[in-house]
C-alpha cells in the first residue's frame, strides 16, 4: 500500500499532473471563497475543462477543486463574515468574531491550518479504509447492492429538511429520469416516443448541471433588485501577517478537539446525504459540548474555528471513501465528483480499487498533495481572494452559464444536450421554488441505473423476491433503510415545534 502510494505521489509531482492539481486547487479556493458559488458549482464549471485531459490529470484537477473549495469558504467567512460555502457557516461564529477583535491573520490561518490537518487526517482514513471496505463490498451480490443503494437513497430522503414526502418524490424524480432510453439489460427503448435522441436516455451531466446550476443561479438572480450585486462588500484589506508556527502550535495543543472534530467530519462524510455544512455545524456543537467553558464559544476563540474547519475538510476524505469503495455519492458535491469519474471512463465501486489501483492511488496522492498546495495558494492569494469576491454578479452569472453550456455541449458535441440542460434548468428551479430538496434527485439520478440492474440481476439469479429480506446483509441494509425513515419521522415529529419557529434558510446546494 505505502509503496503504491509513494509511487503515486512521485507520479503526481510530474508537471503534467501537478499543473492541473495546482490550477484545480486554486480555482477551488476562489470558487469556495465566492459567496453564492458553491463547491458543487465550481466543480461543474471546471469539469468540461478536464474532458481533454487523461483520467488522472482530470481527477487530480477535480480533487484539487474539492479540497480547495472546502477550505476556500473560510476566507470570506473569517474576513467578511459571509461564508463562501455552506460548509463554512460555523467558521463565521468564532472566525469573524476573532477578526473583529483585531486578529484577522490569526483567525484566517487557524482556519487554514485546521483545514489542512483535518483534511490530511481524513486522507489517512481514506487510504486506510477504502481498500478494506471495497474488499467487503466485493463479497456483495446483487441483493446486497440493491439494498445498499436503497439505504443510501433512504438516508437522503429521510434527512430532507422540509418534508419526507417531498424528499421521497424528489428521489423518485431522479430515478424516473434514468428510466428514459434503452433499458440496461435488454436495450428495449423506453419512453423514447419515437425520438432518436431519447434512445440513449438523458446524459447525467447536462441533467445535473441543469438542475444545480440553474437552481442556484436563478435563486441568486431573484434576490437582485437593480444593481450589480457584487458577491461581497469591499472591505479594507486587513493585515494577515502572523507567526505560522504559533498558529500551528495553537492547533496541535488541542489534539482531542482536532481528532474529535475530524472524526465527526469523517463519519458524516462516510454517511450518505449529510454533507459538509452539517459536518462543520455538528463538530462545532460537539466542541462546545466537550469544552470546559462552552459559554466562550462565539466570542472569537480558536476552538470554534478549529472544530469547524478540521471537520469540513475531513468530510471530503470521508465522502471519497464512500464513492471509491461503494460508488455511492454522499451529497451533491460527491455526486458531481462521481459524474466526473464516469466521464473519465471510471466505474467507481468495489472493483475500482482492484482494477484501477494506479488511478485510485493517484486520487489518494492528489488528495494528500492538494492540502499543502492549498496552504501555498492561501499564503499567496488570500488578499487577492478578498478582491475576487467583489466581482459583480452581472459578469459572473453569464460566464458561469456559458461554461455550463460548453460543458453540456462538449460531452457529446451535440446541441441536444444543451437543450437537456435548459429543460432541466427550468425543472431544477421549479423544484427549488416548490421547496423540493435537490440532493435526493441527484442521488436518484446516479443510483437509478444501478438499482435497476441489481434488481434485475438478483431476480434473474433467483426469482424468489424474499431473498432480499432473508440474506443477512441485504436484510440488515433494508432494515436500516426502514429504520432511517422511521427515525426521521420520529425526529420530525419531536422537533416540529422548534423547526416551525426557525427562520427559513437558503437551499444548501
Amino acid at each position: 500500500m505505502f509503496e503504491q502510494l509513494g509511487t503515486a505521489i512521485l507520479d503526481l509531482l510530474q508537471l503534467k499532473f501537478l499543473v492541473p492539481l495546482v490550477i484545480g486547487t486554486f480555482v477551488g479556493v476562489v470558487g469556495g471563497a465566492l459567496p453564492g458559488v458553491t463547491i458543487t458549482m465550481t466543480i461543474i464549471v471546471v469539469l468540461p475543462f478536464t474532458f481533454g485531459l487523461d483520467p488522472l490529470q482530470g481527477l487530480a484537477a477535480m480533487t484539487g477543486v474539492y479540497v480547495g473549495g472546502s477550505a476556500g469558504g473560510l476566507v470570506t467567512a473569517v474576513l467578511l463574515g459571509i461564508p463562501g460555502t455552506p460548509s463554512a457557516i460555523a467558521t463565521t461564529f468564532d472566525g469573524y468574531t476573532m477578526r473583529r477583535n483585531g486578529e484577522p491573520g490569526r483567525a484566517l490561518w487557524l482556519g487554514i491550518w485546521a483545514s489542512c490537518f483535518g483534511g490530511l487526517l481524513g486522507g489517512v482514513f481514506l487510504i486506510a479504509t477504502t481498500g478494506p471496505l471495497a474488499a467487503i463490498a466485493l463479497e456483495f451480490g446483487p441483493w446486497e447492492f440493491f439494498a445498499l443503494f436503497i439505504f443510501a437513497l433512504s438516508m437522503v430522503v429521510g434527512l430532507t429538511e422540509d418534508s419526507l414526502l417531498k424528499g421521497l418524490l424528489a428521489g423518485t424524480f431522479g430515478l424516473l429520469v434514468t428510466t428514459f432510453g434503452s433499458d440496461p439489460i435488454m436495450s428495449v427503448p423506453r419512453f423514447t416516443f419515437g425520438t432518436e435522441f431519447l434512445r440513449g436516455g438523458f446524459d447525467f451531466l447536462p441533467v445535473l448541471i441543469g438542475i444545480f446550476a440553474f437552481a442556484q443561479i436563478m435563486t441568486e438572480l431573484e434576490k437582485m433588485h437593480g444593481g450589480s450585486g457584487s458577491g461581497g462588500a469591499r472591505a479594507a484589506t486587513p493585515n494577515l501577517k502572523i507567526a505560522q508556527l504559533k498558529v500551528i502550535g495553537e492547533i496541535l495543543a488541542r489534539p482531542v478537539l482536532l481528532l474529535w472534530s475530524t472524526a465527526v467530519g469523517l463519519l458524516i462524510g462516510v454517511l450518505p446525504a449529510i454533507g459538509g455544512s452539517a459536518a462543520s455545524v455538528m463538530a462545532y456543537d460537539q466542541a462546545k459540548k466537550i469544552s470546559r467553558r462552552p459559554e466562550r464559544f462565539g466570542t472569537g476563540i480558536p476552538e470554534g474555528i478549529i472544530a469547524s474547519e478540521s471537520s469540513n475538510n475531513a468530510n471530503v476524505g470521508g465522502s471519497l471513501v464512500t464513492i471509491m469503495a461503494f460508488g455511492i455519492p454522499g451529497d451533491a458535491v460527491t455526486a458531481v465528483m462521481l459524474g466526473a469519474m464516469t466521464i473519465h471512463g471510471i466505474q467507481s465501486g468495489p472493483l475500482f480499487m482492484v482494477q484501477e489501483a494506479k488511478l485510485a492511488y493517484g486520487i489518494f496522492a492528489a488528495y494528500l498533495l492538494a492540502h499543502p498546495i492549498m496552504i501555498i495558494v492561501m499564503a499567496l492569494g488570500a488578499r487577492f481572494f478578498l478582491r475576487v469576491v467583489t466581482v459583480p454578479k452581472s459578469a459572473l452569472v453569464p460566464i458561469v452559464l456559458v461554461l455550463c453550456t460548453v460543458g453540456a455541449y462538449a460531452l457529446k458535441n451535440t446541441i441536444d444536450n444543451v437543450w437537456v440542460l435548459a429543460l432541466f434548468g427550468v425543472f431544477g428551479y421549479a423544484l427549488v421554488k416548490l421547496k423540493f430538496p435537490l440532493a435526493p434527485v441527484i442521488l436518484g439520478l446516479i443510483l437509478g441505473d444501478q438499482i435497476e440492474v441489481n434488481l434485475v440481476r438478483a431476480l434473474m439469479n433467483d426469482p424468489n423476491p424474499l431473498l432480499f429480506v432473508t440474506r443477512p446483509i441485504s436484510a440488515l441494509l433494508l432494515g436500516l433503510s426502514v429504520a432511517s425513515v422511521l427515525f426521521s419521522l420520529w425526529q420530525r415529529r419531536r422537533q416540529a415545534a422548534r423547526l416551525a419557529a426557525l427562520p427559513e434558510t437558503a437551499p444548501d446546494f
Partner: protein, 161 residues
C-alpha cells in the same frame, strides 16, 4: 359554516397533481413495453415500480396540501421573478441561436445581453465593461476549448463562423 377553510390550490398541491398525472400516464405507457423471455420482470417492471411510488407520494402530497396547507410564505423582499424570466428567455434564445449564429457570435451576444439585463449599463464606461467582458468570455472560452482541449464548438449555419 364558521371554521370551514376552503382548500386552496397551493404549490404543493399542483406539484403533487403533476406528479400523479405524469406518473399514471407513463405507468400505462410502460405497460405496453415488450416482455422478454430471458428477463423475468421485463423492461417495464422497474419503471412501473418507480412510477407507482411517484404516484403514491404525489397523491399523498396533494392530500397533505389540501388538509394541512403548504406552510407560511417566506418572509423578506419579494423575489425578482422578472429578472429570472428574462434570464430564462435569454438563455433559451442563446441555445436557439447557437447552431444558427455559431458559438462565438451567440456567446458574445448572450453575455452582453445577460449583463445588461442584470445591471443595465448607464454610462459609456459601463457599456465598455459589458463589451469587454462579453468579448473576453467568448475569446477565452473559444481558445481554451478549441485550441487546447480540442472541443469543436458549434459553427453557425447562417454565418459559417
Amino acid at each position: 359554516m364558521r371554521g370551514f377553510v376552503r382548500p386552496r390550490l397551493t404549490g404543493d398541491a399542483v406539484a403533487g397533481l403533476v406528479a400523479v398525472s405524469v406518473s399514471v400516464w407513463l405507468f400505462f405507457v410502460a405497460g405496453d413495453l415488450p416482455q422478454s423471455a430471458l428477463v423475468p420482470i421485463g423492461p417495464g417492471f422497474y419503471p412501473r415500480l418507480v412510477l407507482g411510488a411517484t404516484a403514491l407520494a404525489g397523491a399523498a402530497l396533494v392530500l397533505r396540501a389540501f388538509l394541512v396547507g403548504s406552510g407560511a410564505p417566506a418572509a423578506g423582499p419579494a423575489p425578482n421573478y422578472r429578472l429570472v424570466l428574462v434570464a430564462f428567455v435569454l438563455f433559451g434564445l442563446y441555445v436557439t441561436l447557437l447552431p444558427l449564429l455559431g458559438f462565438r457570435i451567440a456567446t458574445f451576444l448572450f453575455v452582453a445581453a445577460m449583463q445588461s439585463a442584470i445591471d443595465p449599463p448607464r454610462t459609456r464606461r459601463a457599456l465598455l465593461v459589458v463589451t469587454l467582458v462579453a468579448l473576453g468570455t467568448t475569446a477565452v472560452t473559444y481558445l481554451v476549448f478549441e485550441r487546447y482541449l480540442y472541443v469543436l464548438l458549434p459553427r453557425g449555419t447562417w454565418t459559417d463562423f
